[in-house]
């Protein structure tokens, strides 16, 4: 069995990596293809704290 697995060692490595990434993404809420967030600001934002429009420029694109 181990000898047979040796024939596909690279596939096994990639498969385990893919599976590990999948589990990590599932546990941490990462969408592997990227999420829909368009924000480019850093933590704490670029705007003021408080209610209303935190760190968001007034852009209305269409």
């Amino acid at each position: 069995m181990l000898k047979n697995l040796f024939h596909i060692r690279y596939y096994l490595l990639v498969a385990l990596l893919a599976y590990g990434t999948f589990v990590w993404a599932g546990l941490t809420g990462h969408r592997l293809l990227g999420d829909d967030n368009e924000s480019t600001e850093n933590l704490n934002g670029t705007g003021s704290h408080g209610s209303g429009r935190h760190g968001r420029g007034l852009y209305f694109h269409k």
């Binding site: 069995m1 047979n4 697995l5 024939h7 596909i8 596939y11 096994l12 990639v14 498969a15 893919a18 599976y19 990434t21 999948f22 589990v23 993404a25 599932g26 546990l27 941490t28 809420g29 990462h30 969408r31 592997l32 293809l33 999420d35 829909d36 967030n37 368009e38 924000s39 600001e41 933590l43 704490n44 934002g45 705007g47 003021s48 704290h49 209610s51 209303g52 429009r53 935190h54 760190g55 968001r56 007034l58 852009y59 209305f60 694109h61 269409k62």
Partner: protein, 440 residues
């Protein structure tokens, strides 16, 4: 076990051109082909040699393994090349070359090469039962847990023979040969009227192995063309373990996703209705900032890190609304932003109903850390007409694309290999009149 390919040899003159012919099976050889004038004759040690035929169909390219060459074959024995045969099928133009091999202990064997594909053939002491097949299948042989399917039937014709032979190889023209394959193995059945059926066992041998066995350069061997009758499909030993392993991995991914759904179930944390216009009734969620309308949702908790899905449904009817949304962490100010345009048009034209667009949209944000959040929405609608819409926020959103992505990643190589193996088999059987699939 390595045994000598024999150091014994003797010479005899060709009865036609008097060229000296070296032979190695001093006790057994009875028929000879002269490499100078291509006369085939019989000489049994006594009396004059008897000329049987003079071959005219001489190969244009000299055989890659010259007479007298010694090499170790897959059975671990040393063999000497003692004869060359060029043959064809009686009913087709297919030609192949046979190298007759001799080991003084093991006897005779053969290397046959057709279109650059080599097989190593030895006599088989066993006899096999041929299942004649039925209306839905061709004949086959069950042996050692494998099914050998009929691949070819023919009667050989000898076009050229040089070297030594322990029987009259011209008699082979009376043979009826059936080849049964279970790649990389083949069973060959030879039948002659009034003679017991003989069986031979053949195995595929790579050109590189032939070159290494006889110490010749591989580029001197004939170029390989197409797919060999018993050439193993790509993947070989890997495929046997890859297929079940892939199925297990796919199952593992599905089970893991099911476990994630149980351990981190989806939970709706906000569902709120809004109207995009100022309207006649007061809107407590509405804030006007910098002359722009901002709708602010209720505050909601997120237990992260998690993927958050925001679903939008707008009551648009032959109109559109654009919804830039900002999800703001009330402790840190970190925001997640996206914009969705929702439009839905429908009508009746040319006797048919038509529609385009949708009243729904969604966005996935993540990973989102724990905290309290609210949504800011900056709606714009057609002619600033008030449009009602609903926002729903769900944490632990199911990331279906992750599942599909990892399944695709796991299937890439097995998929390519499966396709190559399928193409290989198609190519193999396209050269046979007995393709099992054609008889279904």
């Amino acid at each position: 076990m390595r045994e000598p390919a024999t150091t014994l040899s003797a010479q005899l003159p060709c009865p036609h051109c008097r060229a000296s012919i070296t032979y190695y099976d001093v006790q057994g050889s009875t028929h000879y082909g002269c490499p100078e004038c291509y006369t085939f004759f019989k000489y049994e040690g006594e009396g004059p040699a008897q000329e049987l035929r003079r071959f005219r169909d001489v190969p244009r390219v000299a055989p890659a393994l010259p007479l007298g060459l010694v090499g170790t074959l897959p059975d671990g024995l040393l063999y000497r090349v003692v004869g060359h045969l060029l043959r064809k099928e009686a009913s087709s133009a297919a030609r192949w070359l046979e190298y007759v091999l001799f080991n003084p202990t093991a006897g005779y064997a053969q290397l046959a090469v057709y279109e650059g594909h080599w097989i190593f053939i030895r006599p088989d002491k066993l006899s096999y039962h041929v299942n004649p097949g039925s209306a839905g299948s061709y004949a086959f042989v069950e042996a050692e847990g494998a099914t050998y399917n009929l691949y070819n039937k023919y009667s050989p014709r000898t076009l050229y023979a040089v070297g030594e032979f322990d029987y009259n190889i011209l008699d082979d023209d009376k043979l009826s040969v059936s080849e049964f394959i279970a790649p990389p193995l083949m069973l060959v059945q030879e039948k002659t009227k009034g003679q017991p059926t003989a069986w031979y066992r053949a195995e595929h041998i790579e050109p590189a192995a032939v070159a290494a066995a006889f110490g010749v350069e591989q580029n001197k061997l004939p170029y390989r063309n197409g797919t060999g009758a018993i050439q193993p499909a790509p993947g070989g030993a890997a495929w046997a373990v890859l297929r079940p392993l892939t199925l297990w991995l796919l199952l593992l991914v599905v089970l893991t996703q099911a476990a994630l759904l149980v351990l981190r179930p989806e939970r709706q944390v906000l569902s709120q209705n809004f109207s995009s216009g100022i309207g006649s009734t007061p809107n407590p969620n509405m804030v006007v900032q910098n002359n722009a309308l901002v709708l602010v949702s209720e505050s909601f908790p997120i237990e992260g890190p998690t993927a958050v899905e925001v679903e939008l449904r707008a009551e648009v009817d032959n109109s559109w609304i654009e919804l830039p949304v900002s999800m703001v962490n009330e402790q840190t100010g970190q925001s997640y932003e996206f914009t969705k345009s929702i439009e839905y048009y429908h009508g009746y034209e040319g006797g048919e109903n038509w529609s385009e667009g949708s009243v729904e949209g969604d966005a996935v944000l993540g990973p989102v850390p724990s905290g309290r959040y609210h949504l800011n929405v900056y709606p714009t609608s057609e002619n600033n007409r008030p449009v009602s819409f609903t926002l729903r926020v769900t944490q632990n959103a199911t990331l279906t694309s992750n599942v599909l992505l990892v399944l695709a990643a796991l299937l890439i190589w097995p998929g390519i290999l499966a396709w190559r193996r399928h193409a290989h088999e198609e190519s193999r059987w396209s050269q046979s009149d007995y393709d099992p699939k054609q008889n279904d």
